[in-house]
């Protein structure tokens, strides 16, 4: 099964603006959903200041919130 790659920026700017909350949100997913996701940390997505940033299927999504991230994953799965 091919997993959906979700890259969460863990760079200091994004981290300060809440990337840890995004990671925590993913970890709360039920196991069957969580197993479909390949979570990768990344050091910078070159959009600092608009963080936290996430890249899914090549698209950088800025100003992410846990809710919006879960929605974006839902839409892409």
């Amino acid at each position: 099964m091919e997993q959906l790659v979700v890259e969460i920026c863990a760079g200091t700017s994004c981290y300060l603006l809440g990337s840890q909350d995004l990671i925590d949100a993913l970890e709360t997913l039920p196991p069957d959903k969580r197993s479909k996701i390949d979570l990768r940390g990344i050091t910078c997505l070159k959009a600092c200041g608009h963080g936290p940033n996430v890249r899914i299927k090549g698209v950088v999504l800025s100003n992410m919130t846990p809710d919006r991230l879960l929605q974006a994953i839902e839409d892409n799965l």
């Binding site: 981290y15 840890q20 050091t43 910078c44």
Partner: protein
């Protein structure tokens, strides 16, 4: 740690912008820019209008610069750049932001019988109660939240709902002032910062020394960063202390020292003090490392003051050691704690400034430093497991018990501990009255210990786990085995409060 809500993000953006401008010598002329860069015309808004949003922002900027609220921000920037710090308390209510919390403190419930006596109406000094729709009605605009009506109603039909900040304060130091804004009673407040984390509007904040520290660095002073042991995983679980050290040096700090080393000194001194004074001079002893806890004892249980250990805190021990070696050192404590800012003010001989992990991260962002892109250089700790364990609740207690096993095996320690100021207060009262059989009491204001402090960036559960791993990986097991700490003590120095 606060959950990173939109308001928390905004607060952090202000700190990062203030740092960026100060680092680029632009703060004096461009501080007004923050009003438009952080709050944009089309950005998210938490207030009725952009003007209100910016008014709140001015309060935030004043607090970030450690200047009195209400100062013109250009003037505030100039003062901060001169190294000035206004007098007064660290934890402040931002009057513009505390928008008379929409929670109605007193509410008439269905239990209201619309009785004939109308005790409520008679009791209200402001005539804020009338009868509408067959029950009492409180006019929110006139109500001053004195609570007389609640007391007067024989049916208990009027209930009190507290605001988030009031609920968070174990010491009942927050009440609504006459204008219904939150007000802190500083005779009761221990400056623990719990209310700051609780307010969903970000209306309570603590003063920062960001600009003053940047100016000291720019003036080419030797600025030492002393970091609290709770630093483990604060900048992300993968970021190591070696990376933080490199980042601090890149930022312009002179050196990094671990407060865990000072905690080893404290463990040794506190154990000796216990052995020498309990039970001969006093029935019990309680810890002195958490400044909010010590402040609580001071303000709420002054009769217990003499039972607080005279040993200085790990922060002060570490700083004194540095100042003894380098008298021109500028010492900056960096930790999870807001109350340490107050403790710093009380120890001007050795502490120049105090920053939180949150503030340091904002400063790194302002400087364009990304910790995850720095190569890790192995950092060798000079502290023992004991010293590192101070960050977590129960750590001090265990360290002293272990150390007593080595230094004073004959004494009997009956330990007890508590987390959270309310719990600490209650337990200490019980020990003082003899209702609780303990002779050594550890008090920590924050739940979980310092890893749960208000200036942290990571979840207390994650940090607790990471700290445990880190402690177990530390080579030196006990404080008495830390030869360097033993030597420093022997050289002499002031490890006790006068």
């Amino acid at each position: 740690m606060a959950q990173v809500t939109e308001v928390v993000k905004l607060q952090r953006k202000v700190l990062a912008e203030v740092s960026r401008l100060a680092l680029h010598d632009k703060l004096a002329d461009h501080v007004e820019d923050i009003l438009t860069t952080v709050v944009t015309e089309d950005g998210p808004r938490y207030r009725c209008c952009i003007h209100k949003e910016r008014a709140v922002l001015k309060d935030r900027i004043n607090v970030a610069l450690s200047q009195p609220i209400g100062t013109d921000i250009t003037e505030a920037a100039a003062n901060a750049l001169n190294g000035e710090v206004a007098d007064g308390s660290i934890v402040r209510v931002l009057p513009e932001a505390c928008d008379r919390c929409p929670i109605d403190k007193f509410m008439v419930t269905d239990a209201c019988r619309n009785c004939l006596a109308h005790h409520c109406i008679a009791s209200c000094p402001k005539k804020a109660i009338m009868v509408a729709g067959n029950r009492a009605y409180i006019d929110k605009m006139t109500c001053v939240e004195c609570g007389m009506c609640k007391k007067s109603c024989p049916y208990g039909a009027i209930i009190e709902i507290s605001r988030p900040c009031e609920r968070a304060c174990d010491l009942k130091a927050i009440t609504a002032a006459a204008d219904r804004r939150a007000a802190i009673d500083y005779d009761k407040c221990a400056q623990c910062g719990a209310c700051k984390i609780a307010c969903p509007f970000g209306a309570i904040s603590d003063r920062t020394y960001i600009v003053q520290v940047i100016q000291a660095i720019k003036a080419k002073k030797r600025v030492y960063a002393i970091v609290a042991p709770a630093i483990v995983s604060q900048f992300g679980v993968k970021v190591k202390l070696g990376q933080v050290k490199t980042a601090l040096i890149q930022f312009g700090f002179h050196a990094l020292h671990e407060v865990a080393f000072g905690a080893d000194i404290v463990t040794l001194e506190e154990t000796k003090e216990f052995a020498a004074t309990v039970p001969t001079d006093r029935a019990y002893m309680t810890t002195s490392c958490c400044p909010a806890y010590v402040e609580m004892v001071d303000k709420h249980l002054p009769q217990c003051g003499e039972y607080v250990s005279s040993t200085v805190s790990p922060m002060v021990a570490t700083a004194r050691m540095i100042k003894a070696e380098d008298k021109d050192a500028v010492v900056v404590f960096i930790g999870p704690c807001i109350a340490k800012k107050v403790e710093g003010q009380k120890n001007p001989d050795c502490i120049d400034y105090v920053l939180t992990f949150e503030e340091l991260a904002a400063m790194f962002v302002g400087a364009g430093i990304n910790l995850t892109e720095i190569t890790d250089t192995l950092y060798e700790t000079d502290a023992s497991r004991h010293g590192h364990s101070f960050a977590s609740a129960g750590g001090v207690m265990k360290s002293v018990i272990d150390t007593a096993g080595v230094l004073a095996p004959d004494i009997t320690i009956k330990p007890h501990r508590a987390e959270g100021l309310g719990n600490c207060k209650q337990a200490l009262q019980q020990i003082a009255k003899g209702d609780l059989d303990a002779n050594f009491f550890e008090g920590m204001a924050c739940v979980g210990g310092c890893v749960g402090g208000p200036g942290t960036l990571n979840d207390v559960r994650i940090t607790t786990k990471m700290l445990e791993t880190h402690v177990n990986a530390t080579k030196t097991v006990m404080a008495p085995e830390n030869q360097k700490a033993v030597d420093v003590i022997e050289k002499g120095g002031h490890w006790h409060k006068e």
